[in-house]
């Protein structure tokens, strides 16, 4: 045995042990944890031995195997767009009449082409109007002008922006609602231009799932209780249960005003349970979520005590936009209310100067800015504490718009699988794999004798490698994934058939055992390589274009093909070389 043989042996041993090591979290999640806790990463992490890979790297079951709901929601960006165009047109009319020297205009909006036609009462003023309007409403460009008639078109960049905005809004609302449920594993992601994909493994109730998009987000403006001593007294008289992680905080969240007590925690459900019935008469306790990176999941929650009555709702809000003030370089959110809302806002702000106003979206406090002065005229702005808070400001403006300019969402695709069906499919899937595997293994052993057994060892390793590979990518195993798994096992054996047939040919030509094995492997290499690469190409395209279960199939196929290259070319060759060279055999059992 030469040195390179030992190097390869080491490589194979490392890969084999690495494979087994990678499968540790998967093993624990299936064999140690209760079925109900399979999706609970925290519980899995708790039972894992310290030397195991993180709990994240485990193979979980797809929605079709464990039951659950997969939804694709389409955001009706078209409706969102036409509503905005219409509102902007109305704003133009009132903006022109607000300027003393421009006279009056009327507008008509072509909702199909997103064209706004302004008609001046006095055509003579149109030149001035055109200049001013184009200067101030830079989301529109001039389409045509005919005397006293000016046709404006919503810019393409703006159309894209509004459409994106509508999807972002809808996602924000969906995320907030899912967070409220406290579902452990949820995946919400954007799909293309106008869709949102939501996966709710284990979720069984489609009615509850529909809640996610069922209703328009409720936006409310409420006054904050400036003296929330209740949090401190509650915490001291009836301390929260051990292990709930609820703590008392006193530093003010902004750091700008005097410290007030509040409670904080990481477990929403525990906090809600603890605070149930603890709010004083006429008040309500609401939570604020501190988001993690990229606005993904809530990291912590803070409590807020607010007045129960709702003086103002998002129904009267007409627009909100985040921007950076060029003078102060601070980030702000400008907002506008309609006539009725403007009146309510004036009343609310005049009575509560220097108090804080909670902006509440679906019972979640988005932000609680301090009212600096009375806001008249229906439009005002919220200035962010720090100048680098553009992301926060955008979040706030999205939240405001979600309540004010709802982007209608319709279900594009819903796939719901009951848990009992999932269980049956797992059962049948496992049987299918075992039967296929048994047939192949028996056939190989009979047909190729020792070489067949070697191929079988490689086949089992190949199966483990696929599972470990899926676990390493935190992939899910779907029913099509199982089919892909079976198919790749077939392809892996294929490679060994190619090699063994080649060796037989060499033996038939009268070559020695050693030469036959070496040449058999060498000659079969490129054939196997080409065959694997072409299947890999198909696999990658499937993976790139497919969604859901089909992607699961592609993932199994890709990992399986790569694993097959390794096991058939490296692993079986090592063993066969040892059998022939190492033992100085004169015949090869093939």
């Amino acid at each position: 045995m030469d040195r390179s043989w030992y190097t390869r042996l080491t490589l194979i041993l490392v890969v084999t042990f690495g494979t087994l090591w990678l499968l540790v979290p998967t093993y624990y999640s299936f064999a140690v944890l209760d079925k109900a806790d399979r999706n609970n990463i925290k519980k899995l992490a708790a039972v894992l031995p310290p030397w195991s890979p993180p709990a994240k790297y485990r193979l979980s079951l797809g929605l079709d195997l464990q039951g659950g709901i997969h939804m694709v929601m389409r955001v009706d960006t078209r409706t969102a767009l036409t509503k905005r165009a219409e509102r902007r047109a109305l704003q133009m009319v009132s903006w022109v009449s607000g300027k003393k020297n421009l006279g009056e205009v009327t507008q008509t909006t072509d909702l199909d082409k997103l064209l706004v036609t302004l008609t001046a009462k006095d055509p003579a003023t149109m030149d001035a109007i055109e200049k001013e309007v184009l200067g101030s409403f830079d989301d529109f460009s001039k389409e045509s002008r005919n005397g006293g008639q000016l046709v404006l078109k919503l810019k393409d960049t703006q159309i894209e922006y509004y459409m994106n905005d509508a999807v972002d809004q809808a996602m924000l609302v969906i995320r907030k609602r899912i967070d409220k449920w406290g579902v452990a594993e949820v995946d919400v992601r954007r799909l293309g231009n106008d869709s949102i994909q939501i996966s709710l493994p284990g979720q069984q109730d489609p009615e509850q799932a529909k809640e996610l998009i069922g209703t328009t987000a409720q936006l409310e403006f409420r006054v904050l209780d400036e003296n929330p001593e209740i949090f401190k007294t509650t915490f001291e008289t009836t301390p929260p249960p051990e292990g709930s992680g609820i703590a008392l905080g006193t530093a003010d969240l902004d750091g700008s005003s005097p410290a007030r007590p509040f409670l904080e925690g990481t477990d929403r459900e525990a906090m809600v349970n603890y605070l149930k019935g603890k709010a004083p008469e006429g008040k309500q306790i609401l939570l604020h979520c501190v988001e993690g990176d990229k606005g993904k999941k809530c990291q912590r929650y803070y409590t807020f005590l607010v007045n129960k009555d709702v003086p103002l709702t998002g129904e009267n809000l007409t627009n909100a936009e985040a921007s950076r003030d060029t003078n102060t370089n601070k980030v702000q959110v400008n907002f506008q209310f309609d006539a009725q809302g403007g009146k309510d806002l004036e009343e609310l702000t005049s009575k509560n100067v220097n108090k804080r106003m909670a902006i509440v979206l679906d019972d979640n406090v988005v932000m609680a800015p301090t009212i600096q002065e009375k806001i008249g005229g229906g439009s005002g702005r919220i200035t962010m504490g720090r100048s680098n808070d553009l992301q926060q400001a955008q979040m706030l403006s999205l939240a405001l718009k979600a309540g004010a300019l709802p982007a209608p969402v319709t279900p594009g695709e819903i796939r719901q699988v009951g848990a009992s069906l999932g269980e049956e499919l797992i059962h049948k899937g496992v049987l299918a794999v075992l039967l296929g595997l048994a047939l192949v293994v028996v056939f190989m052993a009979i047909y190729y004798r020792v070489s067949g057994l070697v191929a079988n060892v490689a086949l089992v390793l190949n199966g483990l490698l696929i599972l470990a590979g899926l676990a390493a990518f935190s992939a899910t195993l779907t029913l099509p994934g199982i089919a892909g798994f079976v198919l790749t096992l077939g392809i892996a054996v294929d490679a060994n058939v190619l090699i063994n047939e080649r060796i037989r040919e060499e033996v038939r030509m009268g070559k020695s055992a050693r030469a036959s094995v070496d040449q058999g492997y060498d000659r079969a290499f490129w054939t196997i390589f080409d065959a694997h690469v072409t299947t890999l190409i198909a696999g990658f395209i499937l993976w790139k274009t497919g969604t859901g279960p089909v992607q699961g199939f592609a993932t199994s196929l890709i990992i399986g093909i790569i694993a097959s290259l390794f096991t058939s070319i490296v692993v079986t060759r090592l063993i066969t070389t040892w059998l022939v060279h190492g033992r100085n055999a004169t015949t090869v059992s093939v």
Binding site: R74, D76, T79, K83, L90, P206, K210, G214, T215, L405, P406, P408, T410, G412, I414, R415, G418, S420, L421, A432, V433, L435, G436, L437, L439, V440, F443, M444, Y447, L479, P480, I482, A483, V486, L487, G490, I491, D494, V497, L498, E501, R502, R504, E505, R523, T527, T534, T535, I537, A538, G539, I541, L542, K544, T545, G546, G548, P549, V550, F553
Partner: protein, 384 residues
């Protein structure tokens, strides 16, 4: 043990004309069939609602269909899945929402009766009715009015005020709710469990279909590029025709068997692409090798030798892959059974096309090339 003892000497190339003729006729028939009769598209591509139910009592397809009809469903497609003792059925309905061309008129009349409508537009694909009214209306009233007209309502959305008028959107309830309701009333006394609901909106369906087709074309192109890069250009057309042949044949399986054509079917077709070329490459590789070895021999003879030499491995590789699929055929239900069955068809035609289609095409191209050169019969150079 050996399947084929010693060397075979079958004249594959001599029979190439018959093989190509038969294949072309079948392929053409399938393409015409797809264009005229069409696939039995599943909800993935056609859009619609699919509900899988399992009954506690023994029943049959006919009873379920009658029950669903009695419960008020319009022309449901009912199919039994699994074995008869399982009492599992799949119900398919064209629409995804309860707002259909049957119920839309009544729904519109109901809205006009309940509010002072300025404009109204309907979006049947998404089950939406958008309308603008002069004065605010109570959403509950609207909901009650529309539901009374026969269209289930999921939600009445208030879209706010524009120009003194008020906008509303009515979102009709999904078809799946109606299926459960219909079965409960139409098959009173029987107990069932809803095991699966698939609901695909028509736009998403179209999107998925387009994606599927473009994935197939893209994969074929990418594989062809690879073959052109690894082999002589002369091998390209043969590989392409063999791939097309196999994909069409497997599509033919879905066409003739009337099994549902869905996303999984696209996955099968793509896998067949990879598999088809796989088999072809094994033979091409050998042809290339023999071309170096037997310089001077006519190409037809070389190819015959190559095909004969690789015959046992061609049969074995296909056989082993087919063997691994048997488990899926025995235990697979629904889509997975279709997957395995279509794969099997693909493996068989893939093997056939590598021998009878892909290899002869190399000769044909070579002959044409040499006719142009005026030097027929000259062996081609090996292209590595």
């Amino acid at each position: 043990m050996e399947i084929i003892k010693g060397k075979t000497n079958i004249d594959f190339i001599g029979k190439r004309r018959i093989a190509i003729w038969i294949s072309s006729v079948i392929n053409l028939a399938i393409v015409i069939g797809i264009a005229t009769v069409g696939f039995n598209f599943g909800v993935d591509f056609a859009g619609g609602t699919l509900v899988e139910v399992k009954f506690a009592q023994s029943t049959n397809t006919e009873k379920v269909r009658e029950g669903a009809k009695a419960g008020g469903l319009n022309e449901p497609q009912v199919q039994a899945i699994g074995s008869a003792e399982e009492n599992s059925f799949v119900l398919r309905l064209g629409g995804t929402t309860q707002l259909t061309d049957v119920s839309e008129k009544a729904a519109e009349a109901a809205i006009r009766g309940a509010a002072d409508v300025v404009t109204l537009s309907k979006d049947l694909e998404n089950g939406l009715i958008n309308f603008r009214v002069k004065a605010k209306v109570d959403p509950a009233t609207l909901k009650a009015a529309v539901e009374k007209s026969g269209t289930g309502v999921k939600e009445v959305r208030e879209l706010g005020e524009t120009n003194g008028n008020f906008d509303y959107q009515i979102v009709s309830a999904g078809m799946a709710d109606k299926v459960t309701q219909a079965l409960k009333t139409g098959m009173a006394g029987s107990q069932f469990e809803v095991r699966r609901v698939d609901y695909v909106g028509p736009q998403i369906g179209r999107q998925l279909r387009n994606q599927g087709v473009s994935a197939l074309v893209l994969a074929m192109f990418a594989i062809l590029l690879y073959v052109a890069f690894r082999f002589d250009l002369k091998f390209g057309p043969g590989a392409l025709v063999a791939m097309l042949h196999d994909v069409i044949m497997v599509a033919g399986y879905f066409l003739v068997s009337r099994r549902e054509f869905n996303l999984t079917s696209i996955a099968v077709l793509l896998t067949i692409l990879g598999y088809s070329i796989n088999d072809t490459i094994v033979i091409y590789d050998r042809i290339r090798e023999e071309m170096v070895k037997y310089k001077g021999k006519p190409l037809a003879e070389i190819i015959n030798i190559a095909v004969n030499d690789t015959l046992s491995r061609t049969i074995l590789t296909s056989g082993v892959t087919a063997l691994s699929l048997i488990g899926l055929l025995v235990f697979g239900v629904g889509e997975i059974f279709d997957f395995a069955a279509a794969m099997l068809v693909g493996i068989v035609v893939g093997t056939y096309s590598s021998v009878y289609i892909a290899s002869p095409l190399v000769i044909w191209l070579d002959e044409r090339e040499h006719q142009n050169d005026g030097a027929a019969g000259k062996p081609i150079s090996s292209g590595v």
